[in-house]
Amino acid sequence: MIRIALPVAAGLVLGGLVHILSIFALPQLAQNDAYARLSALGKTNEIVQVPDPTPFESLLPRLDPAFVFAACVFDLSRGPLALSVPTTPDLVSVAFYTRQGRVFYSLNDRAAARRSIDLQLMTAEQRALLPRDEDVTAADRLIIESPATLGIIFVRAFVREEGARANIRELLSKAKCGPLGAVR
């Protein structure tokens, strides 16, 4: 009996270890995660329109059908990024994810000063390189520090009633994402 019990016990201890390691490794290993799916829609550092979910197809699982979505898959390795998202008559929100899908920042249109949500995304190193005075004079600029070089910006715009969908999509198609300086 003991001859069986020992390897079984050792196996289960090992199993616990394997479990913990694999749970932590999964976000790094996942092949078909949000980053991969959104990357397939278009270029990096550009806005892509995410198709509305239908019963037959949904680019990402469990998207809210009452919304219109756009995304910008970002790569900060060649410099900071600027994002400009027009506001709509209703709720617009922006969430920032690392490549592994962890949210590191989110905001909605109530944080927008004018008729668009304008912000800059950069790593801590890039922010440290910003000229000091510029940082002060640009106090109205919203700078978001990214903990990762690669990630996803995801834009969600509420559609009050189906008749407004085309209009909201049109507004979102004017969203811009690109290298800092190129987006105004």
Binding site: R3, L6, P7, V8, A10, G11, L12, V13, L14, G15, G16, L17, V18, H19, L21, S22, I23, F24, L26, P27, A30, N32, D33, A34, A36, R37, P53, T54, P55, F56, S58, L60, P61, R62, D64, P65, A66, F67, D90, L91, S93, A95, F96, Y97, Q100, G101, R102, V103, Y105, S106, L107, N108, R110, I152, F154, F158, V159, R160, E161, E162
Partner: protein, 189 residues
Amino acid sequence: MRALFFIFALIIGSASGLGMTWVMSARDNGFGALDIGVWRSWPRSGTAEADPYARANFARSGELPLGFSEGVVFVATTDDRGRAIDGRCITRIKGKLLPARFWTLTVYDGRGRLIENPAARYAFTSTEVVFDAEGDVEVWLAPRAHSGNWLPTGENERITVVIRLYDMPTGVARSEAAQMPRVTREKCP
């Protein structure tokens, strides 16, 4: 003999460990759940403090969780008596929701897909739903047309109802008085 035991332990270890990971990463997102009635939420999933299980779950499914300042998601898969919500039955969702700037109520099948119907009606939003005299929301889930706020369920055996509360004041979900609608099965064929 010793080598055999070693291999045996190795097989048990990798099978049980990876098996557990497989099961846990497919389930709804980990610990730290907040329950209000039959409605379950994971308020931390949209923050940097999301637990490893939630992250593994999102990575595997490809879902992007709502950010914390965007909104909070509540999911129901059972009625008030603990029975799975059955799309072949008539189910009533009635009551008040937590305060938010907007909310949406969406039905999905057991695999998380929207349910096909000729009217392409998958959800109600707070801006289009009809409230009753007491200010309650009353939504009917049924396979065939129903009076009032009706959402079609096809003939799916299992239904998942998702309420998303957008731009919610912080803290209200955790208060004692927090309430969400009741989910009752009214009639089954």
